[in-house]
């Protein structure tokens, strides 16, 4: 294998592994802010216990997120030196802003969030939690801005030629608010909220099924269900806006997402399918003219297809892009159906009586996490063969001084460390869930009356 494919595999692998964690941290951060806010508002100790419990799990996701996050920053320089020289002038300010505004905020307050329970007042602790959460939200801003600039470059001009060519910034705000950054940022944030909310739903559904921490779990489950229901519906709007943006800014990617080949014809939308690149055929279940309708509200409006682009400008992995995109959409729809159904049951007052539904929630945590991964795979593979859309090809972006055997070495190294990390993560997560929230501190505060009633109930 050559340096290009190895470097691409390494970046894809390290960034995909990293991206298991930040969405969970952002989503759990939101739930923790809600729980601590409820504690401050109501003074109910149960929320405090829940916040403490979720902070422990947050510490785990956040810790691995930090440890694996710095890898990509380094890889820009180590594996993609030509890219770094090309984009540094533009991309650098976003990365610097991320470091100084986001990472410093989150990691600064993290110490207080994790270890400050007995050192600061609940109000200051709430501010620390809020600081960490906002920091994680901001870091999403700057990294999505940087990535969106690669998808839809704006606010720059190109200086120099050939190997010495580079993009220079001309307008900072045009770079920040490039055509795709806002819609993609919202899409990413909502995806992260779903990841966090579904993890909370999963764990508390499990406790309810096992008849443990019942009162706590009902409270947490409801908060997470509200978040998950609103956000999964919001994601429908955000996802649609994102697809509209792709149609406008990256027509070749859009054509790849739906496997639309004909240069200028009405486009179908597939519920599922299989793309054969050679014969330019998609086998599956189409809604004829569906894509045309979605973009232009007209089933017969033509949409630019892949054949409108020279072969060297088309994304190569058509079927993979199609599959990743369609599974993402399908998982999004499933989340909407599931949360709406559960909310309906809550309204009927029967939410916690249906064991099968709770079991579904235990496993539904996979839906948002896989959807987040698949969405990014579709977005990044759909941008190919470009690393900066229309400007710099991935094959031209490599480090000239790095050899294939070096990348192979580091790829194997990352594979081994991350396999170990993932095993430790699952083991620790399982352990923390098995241990559960510490309800000891609730006992002292329970009224005597309740205790006696409980004691009486035991006999």
């Amino acid at each position: 294998m050559d340096v290009e494919i190895l470097s691409r595999i390494q970046f894809a692998f390290t960034v995909a592994f990293h991206y298991i964690y930040p969405p969970l941290s952002i989503g759990l951060g939101l739930i923790m802010v809600a729980l601590e806010g409820q504690y401050l508002r109501t003074g109910n100790k149960e929320y405090h216990v829940l916040a403490k419990f979720w902070t422990k799990i947050f510490a785990l996701t956040f810790g691995i997120g930090v440890a694996t996050g710095i890898v990509m920053e380094f890889e820009f320089g180590t594996n993609w030196a030509t890219y770094s020289r090309y984009v540094g002038d533009v991309f650098g300010s976003a990365l610097a802003a991320e470091g100084i505004f986001a990472f410093a905020l989150e990691s600064g307050f993290l110490g207080v969030l994790l270890f400050g329970w007995n050192r600061v007042s609940p109000r200051v602790h709430f501010i620390a939690t809020l600081g960490v959460w906002l920091g994680s939200m901001f870091s999403a801003v700057w990294i999505v801005v940087a990535n969106s600039w690669q998808q839809t470059p704006a606010g720059f001009h190109v200086v120099g030629e050939g190997l010495d060519a580079r993009a220079e910034i001309t307008d900072f705000w045009a770079m920040v608010f490039n055509p795709s950054s806002v819609e993609r940022l919202i899409h990413v944030w909502l995806g992260a909220f779903l990841a966090g909310a579904f993890l909370v739903l999963s764990v508390h559904a499990y406790y309810l099924l096992r008849n443990r921490h019942v009162e706590l779990s009902k409270k947490a489950f409801k908060i997470a269900l509200i978040v998950a229901t609103i956000v999964s519906l919001g994601q429908l709007v955000a996802g649609h806006a994102s697809a509209d943006g792709v149609a406008e800014n990256q027509p070749a990617k859009l054509a790849a997402l739906e496997g639309h080949f004909e240069a200028n014809a009405p486009a179908d939308m597939y519920l599922m399918g299989w793309v054969d690149k050679e014969s330019q055929q998609v086998t599956g279940i189409p809604i004829p003219g569906g894509l045309s309708f979605l973009l232009h509200f007209d089933f017969n409006e033509p949409v630019t297809g892949l054949n409108a682009f020279p072969i060297e400008d088309q994304p190569p992995a058509l079927n993979a892009i199609f599959q990743f995109y369609h599974f993402m959409v399908a998982f999004g729809m499933l989340m909407i159906a599931l949360t709406l159904y559960a909310s309906f049951q809550w309204w009927r007052g029967k939410l916690f009586e249906q064991r099968w539904l709770l079991w579904v929630f235990v496993f539904a945590v996979l839906l948002p996490n896989l959807a987040n991964q698949f969405g990014w795979f579709a977005a990044e593979m759909g941008r190919q063969p470009w690393v900066v859309y229309g400007l710099l090809r991935t094959s031209d972006a490599l480090s000239a001084s790095v050899q294939a055997n070096q990348v192979l070495f580091s790829l194997i190294m990352f594979f081994l460390i991350y396999a170990l990390l993932f095993a430790l993560f699952i083991y620790m997560l399982n352990k923390k869930i098995k241990h559960g929230p510490s309800e000891d501190q609730l006992l002292d505060h329970r009224s005597r009356h309740e205790e006696m009633a409980e004691a009486a109930g035991k006999f």
Partner: protein
């Protein structure tokens, strides 16, 4: 060319990056030093206290590296690209140990088993030692220069990074971090651990003075280009003199058991030594041993003036915020370490 306080933007950004790296050295330096000494503490409770002394702050300290790296990428993309791709293997190893340091701190306390804790103790300490040495190795190579060819591409073999000078700088860095870490831990501990640390601090500073003398000697004898600037501008000689005085002050303060002041002086030493490095290099950032024409300087590597101006604004807004959070966290966790149920 736009200037601020009489300095052009690339020079200013060079100073910003220098400030960030010395902030990183001062902050993560004590974490790494504490980690390097970790296996000298024999009792389980001592190890826990030592770990929890850095527990709430190491992550925030590591962020300084992320910020400094980002600032280097943003301000001098050519340096970033050439240095990182040139030193591919050392940087990959650096990542390996950075991950292991983080994971060891995180996972050590999660199980009671003896073998489990021992395993993470060893990996924590080895990772901290390796990170300190690697940082020094990178610095050493930057000082003597690397084989940079046309278009800023490294054209040598990666094993060249392990040259005697770079390794010596690596060991010196380890010694300085160990001193710094011991002094930090002395502020956070009591009793027998404290007594043990005061001996370790003494040994570490002696270790540092020996290795540092060797580096100085080596530099003066074999690497004349690093002293040119001081010959041209003799008044700059005051900086290395201050650095030497600051170093000499550390053993004095240690023997007087004024560890907090000792810590301040080990921090000052790091900053002054980096100022010496900056004086030696400026305006070159990566020296080519192939041909002077391939040198990467702050001028041929810098981002556009527009970009640097934007980032100086970001830094001006961001830096006070970062200092404020940092101060708040250190203030919250001031005083000796107390273990509670949230500790590692």
């Amino acid at each position: 060319m736009a200037t601020l306080f009489g300095l052009d933007y690339p020079t200013l950004w060079f100073l910003v990056i220098g400030g960030l790296f010395s902030g990183y050295a001062i902050l993560d330096g004590f974490d790494l030093g504490a980690g390097a000494l970790h296996l000298f503490f024999k009792k389980e409770k001592s190890r826990r206290i030592a770990l929890n002394a850095v527990g709430p702050v190491w992550d925030g300290n590591e962020v300084w590296l992320v910020i400094a790296g980002g600032a280097l990428f943003a301000g001098f993309p050519v340096v970033y690209a050439s240095l990182f791709s040139g030193m591919y293997i050392p940087f990959m190893l650096f990542l390996l140990f950075l991950i292991f340091r983080a994971v060891s701190i995180e996972f050590r306390s999660k199980e009671e088993m003896k073998w489990w804790r021992k395993m993470w103790d060893i990996s924590y300490s080895v990772a901290s030692i390796a990170l300190s040495v690697l940082l020094g190795v990178v610095l050493g190579n930057v000082l003597i220069g690397i084989e940079i060819g046309p278009h800023g591409n490294f054209q040598g073999h990666w094993l060249e990074f392990l040259n005697p000078y770079a390794l010596l700088v690596g060991v010196t860095t380890l010694a300085l971090f160990s001193t710094h870490g011991a002094l930090y831990l002395l502020m956070k501990t009591e009793g027998r651990l404290y007594a043990k640390l005061s001996i370790l601090a003494r040994r570490a500073i002696i270790f540092f003075i020996v290795t540092f003398s060797l580096v100085t000697l080596y530099t003066l004898i074999y690497i004349p280009h690093l002293t040119d600037r001081f010959k041209d501008l003799p008044w700059l000689f005051v900086v290395p003199v201050l650095a030497f005085l600051s170093i000499a002050n550390i053993p004095r303060l240690i023997s007087k058991r004024r560890f907090r002041d000792g810590f301040i002086f080990s921090a000052i030493t790091m900053s002054l030594l980096l100022v010496v490095v900056a004086i030696e290099l400026y305006p070159v950032m990566l020296l080519s041993t192939v041909d002077e024409a391939y040198n990467i300087t702050i001028y041929n590597a810098a981002s556009s003036e527009k970009s640097l101006g934007i980032m100086l604004t970001i830094a001006a807004i961001g830096t006070p915020l970062v200092l404020a959070y940092t101060a708040f966290v250190f203030w919250t966790f001031r005083g000796k370490v107390e273990l509670d149920e949230t500790s590692y």
